[in-house]
């Protein structure tokens, strides 16, 4: 199983090399075999007697992060979708993408996504799951932005990335809390500890964080806004990521965590409310669209809402209907996206207002579209799988409870489905029937090449097969998938005709009212434009993004002035505040007068002169005078070293100070004269505060370090071992050349680098003159 997850990633490494051959062999042909083999591998698991399996691999055991893969009915449904639809999409893309495109990039991203998505649905470890989850967002970002020269593509890519990654991070927060509460990182082990989680104070937070991740990923209202913009991706990507697989990761997450949250009523209420709201809003918005892919995008949003709502109902019938619809939606919506791609490819436009009457020109495509749209609309015909799950949805929406809100759900379900019916009909009849406007089309349309038709044909065959023999998929894996979400689900036959029962009446109402609305749609156009009017969620998103940009620019410009002095003040000021705070909070200040050395007049005199000289450097406005004053400080340091019995450093200090003064004199001669400071009193005051504050800090640190002895001095070690180990009498010298010899080596290296830099600086001047 682990190979199934990782092989796409491994193969992706070879794609750049293979894409060099693209003039001879389309890169997609190599890629096609990967999802196809994975599909064949997982098909072997299908069967009535399926039992979940677990594979464990150690990854970071010290952190409890193991690469555990868990295959149950739910994962099986998803891996089959990912690999199955993946194979068809790759096949379709071979004809959709011209050899002049950057095929290498496309297939690398696609394979990356495949690995990531398989990882999401198979991981048992929450942190592994999270990693793959974010990887799907990243590959989706790359695929949406595939035609990166288009402004809309970049906008859509960024939008989807920001929204889904925001949700992903929130989900990570939920996962961490779950880990804190249960002490395990395995989902299956968490399910055994449900009581712990349900009694935890963090439960509302956990639920909120995880649902936010699921809702953003599955484009639930009001986070749905990224999905329509994601349609800028090449159509195979839209069919694959943004309808069949990635957007269902949120549903997967809700389903996966259903056993954990099933004891918590808020879970069902929140998921149902968001699901129903998304169903209605998405279907309503879809009716107003004129772009084929935009219609499909909003339709996907609404269908995702419907599945989400069913997961929210949580009853046996609802959960089964949810997994059934996940499968059905992937088949009919996948084929519809491919049809939209074909229409776009052959006519050069996706604007439904310019299209019409294509049925006679593209009969095969039109037939495929008819099956897809009618299945999506839930027309009660025995060979359309969409009808079965739609009717199960109606059945599940009835009888949820006696209170007012539960009673409204069937009506909202019907309302959303009516809009679904209207846009489905519009999609089909608007494109394939009616008047032809061939003059408005950029290209002269004709039937698509057979290669492009294979994938949608297979999907439509799937639609019909599932429609005719629903129990074939039901017994072999749908029942296992439903049982993984709600263990009380048992096998139940799915039949077309139940009699004249309420769900069937609801379907008839949808078809009836829908037909009326569709036929009279011209009269309603004004109303469709009325909502949402100016207050749209896109505006809110754009506004927020714009504001974030502006505010951070303003903040950055405020302190990034380009003036090094300002930076210096900021750094020193921060250091000052942090150090004082730290010293204060940890009670670090200490003051003791024990063991102080004697004070003699000569020392005080030297120190006094040094202090005066140091302060004088600030007021000196003459180059030579300033150097001399600095020299006074330097020689004062040397005298102190002599007094305090440090002959070696006193000597060094004397030599170095002499050279430094000479060097200063040499350079100062060429430098502009010192001037009086022209700063405003305010700047001067700020500088004074910072420097005096720093001086005080240093004094306090020095006194505190003297006053507190936490360890014995290690000086005795050097005193005792200087002769036996180092073979020298001068202890300081022995430390330098022996005990800490490497430090001295580096010190020499620093000097060498400084010397080279100086030579470089001077050379640079000569070269300049040569020009």
């Amino acid at each position: 199983m682990i190979f199934a997850v990782l092989i796409p990633l491994l193969i992706a490494c070879f794609i750049p090399a293979l894409s060099k051959l693209k003039e001879k062999i389309h890169t997609g042909i190599f890629v096609f075999f990967i999802p196809f083999l994975i599909f064949l591998y997982f098909v072997t698991f299908i069967g009535n007697d399926f039992t979940p399996t677990m594979e464990q691999y150690n990854w970071i055991p010290s952190l409890g992060i193991n690469f555990d893969l868990y295959l149950d009915g739910l994962s099986l449904l998803f891996v089959l979708l990912i690999s199955g639809i993946g194979s068809l999409v790759v096949l379709y893309s071979i004809y959709y993408l011209d050899k002049s495109e950057r095929l290498g990039h496309f297939y690398v991203y696609l394979l990356m996504f495949m690995s990531a998505m398989l990882g999401v649905v198979l991981s048992d470890n929450i942190f592994v799951l999270y990693t793959f989850w974010e990887l799907t967002s990243i590959s989706s970002f790359l695929l949406i932005g595939y035609w990166h020269f288009k402004e809309r593509s970049r906008y859509g890519a960024l939008k989807s990335m920001l929204i889904t990654v925001f949700g992903g991070l929130s989900m990570l927060g939920g996962f961490i809390l779950l880990y804190v509460v249960t002490g395990t990182t395995s989902i299956q082990q968490m399910i055994t500890q449900v009581d712990f989680i349900l009694n935890s104070n963090y439960l509302p937070l956990i639920l909120g964080f995880i649902l936010l991740g699921a809702f953003t990923k599955s484009a639930q209202f009001p986070f749905h806004i990224w999905l329509p913009d994601a349609m800028e991706a090449p159509t195979p990507v839209s069919a694959y990521l943004h309808s069949a697989t990635m957007v269902k990761a949120g549903l997967f997450l809700v389903a996966r965590f259903s056993p954990i949250f099933s004891g918590y009523e808020a879970f069902f209420i929140i998921v149902s409310v968001f699901g129903i709201a998304t169903l209605c809003w998405g279907a309503y918005m879809s009716v107003r669209q004129t772009d084929l892919k935009a219609i499909l995008a909003f339709s996907t949003i609404s269908q995702l809402g419907m599945i989400m709502a069913m997961l929210g109902f949580g009853t046996k019938a609802a959960v089964f209907a949810a997994v059934f619809h996940i499968l059905n939606h992937a088949t009919f919506k996948g084929s519809l996206f491919m049809v939209a791609g074909i229409v776009d490819h052959e006519t050069g436009t996706r604007d439904i207002r310019k299209l019409g009457g294509l049925a006679t020109l593209m009969p095969v495509t039109a037939t495929l579209a008819m099956f897809g749209t009618f299945s999506m609309a839930g027309v009660p015909l025995p060979f359309l799988n969409g009808y079965y799950s739609k009717e199960l949805f109606f059945e599940a929406s009835l009888g949820l409870g006696a209170d007012f809100w539960s009673q409204t759900i069937p009506f909202l379900a019907v309302l959303g489905s009516i809009f679904t019916f209207v846009y489905s009909m519009y999609l089909f009849f608007g494109t394939f029937t009616g008047k032809k406007h061939l003059d408005k089309l950029p290209k002269k349309p004709h039937e698509a090449p057979i290669g492009m038709l294979i994938s949608p044909i297979i999907l439509v065959v799937g639609v019909i097969t599932i429609g005719l023999f629903p129990n074939m998929v039901n017994s072999s894996f749908l029942q296992h998938a439903a049982a993984a979400i709600n263990s009380s689900v048992t096998y139940k036959d799915v039949t077309f005709w139940h009699g004249f029962i309420p769900p069937f009446k609801m379907s008839l109402a949808v078809v009836g009212i829908g037909t009326v609305l569709f036929l009279t749609r011209k009269k309603w156009q004004g109303i469709y434009q009325f909502l949402p009017g100016k207050v749209s969620f896109n505006r809110i998103y754009d506004g927020i993004l714009n504001q974030i940009g502006q505010v951070s620019t303003r903040i950055t410009n405020y302190y990034m002035t380009g003036s090094l002095r300002t930076y210096m003040s900021l750094i020193l000021g921060t250091m000052l505040i942090v150090s004082f705070l730290f010293m204060f909070l940890t009670d670090g200040f200490a003051f003791s007068t024990n063991e102080l050395a004697n004070i003699s007049f000569i020392e005080v005199a030297v120190v006094g002169i040094m202090i005066i000289a140091a302060i004088a450097t600030i007021y000196m406005n003459h180059n030579v005078a300033a150097i001399l004053v600095v020299g006074v400080v330097g020689f004062g340091v040397a005298i102190l070293f002599v007094i305090y019995r440090a002959p070696d450093i006193a000597l060094t200090q004397l030599v170095i100070e002499t050279i430094t003064v000479a060097l200063f004199l040499l350079c100062f001669y060429h430098l502009p004269k010192l001037r009086k400071s022209s700063d405003t009193p305010r700047t001067k005051l700020m500088n004074a505060i910072i420097s005096i504050g720093f001086g005080t800090l240093i004094t306090l640190v020095a006194i505190s370090s003297h006053s507190s002895r936490w360890f014995e001095s290690i000086a005795n070690y050097f005193v005792e071992n200087s002769k036996p180990l180092g073979g020298g009498y001068n202890i300081v010298n022995v430390i330098l050349v022996d005990f800490r010899g490497l430090d001295t080596l580096f010190e020499i290296a620093v000097l060498g680098i400084a010397a080279l830099a100086i030579v470089g600086l001077i050379k640079y001047k000569k070269n300049k003159e040569a020009e």
Partner: protein, 112 residues
């Protein structure tokens, strides 16, 4: 006496930083020179002052001053010399190339 040298270190740091916050490159170089002096005095004060004889092994003497701060300072003196001379040359060259030694005029361009 340690308290007095502590204050000296503080004063050296304060004046060093005040100089480093000035506009003129020269003052900044002076500031760094003062800063290293301050650091040396600080390290020196942290080891105790005048607790024994100079750290050169001599027969009959057991008590020596702490040699470790001295070794550290010796290294530091040499390095600060390297830094100061590099800064001096840098200041000199930068003044020559840019025609100004005023930090406020030495800013990056907006478009860089």
């Amino acid at each position: 006496m340690e308290i007095i040298t502590s204050i000296l270190a503080g004063v050296l740091f304060a004046t060093a930083i005040y100089n480093m916050l000035q506009k003129q490159l020269l003052r900044i170089v002076i500031g760094t020179a003062l800063l290293s002096h301050g650091a040396h005095i600080l390290i020196f004060t942290m080891g105790k002052l005048k607790t024994g004889q100079p750290p050169i092994l001599t027969d009959g003497i057991e008590n020596y001053t702490d040699p470790l701060p001295q070794a550290l300072i010796l290294t530091s003196i040499v390095i600060s010399f390297g830094v100061t001379s590099l800064l001096l040359v840098l200041a000199y060259r930068s003044t020559q190339e840019n025609g100004t030694d005023n930090m406020e005029e030495l800013r990056g361009n907006e478009n860089e």
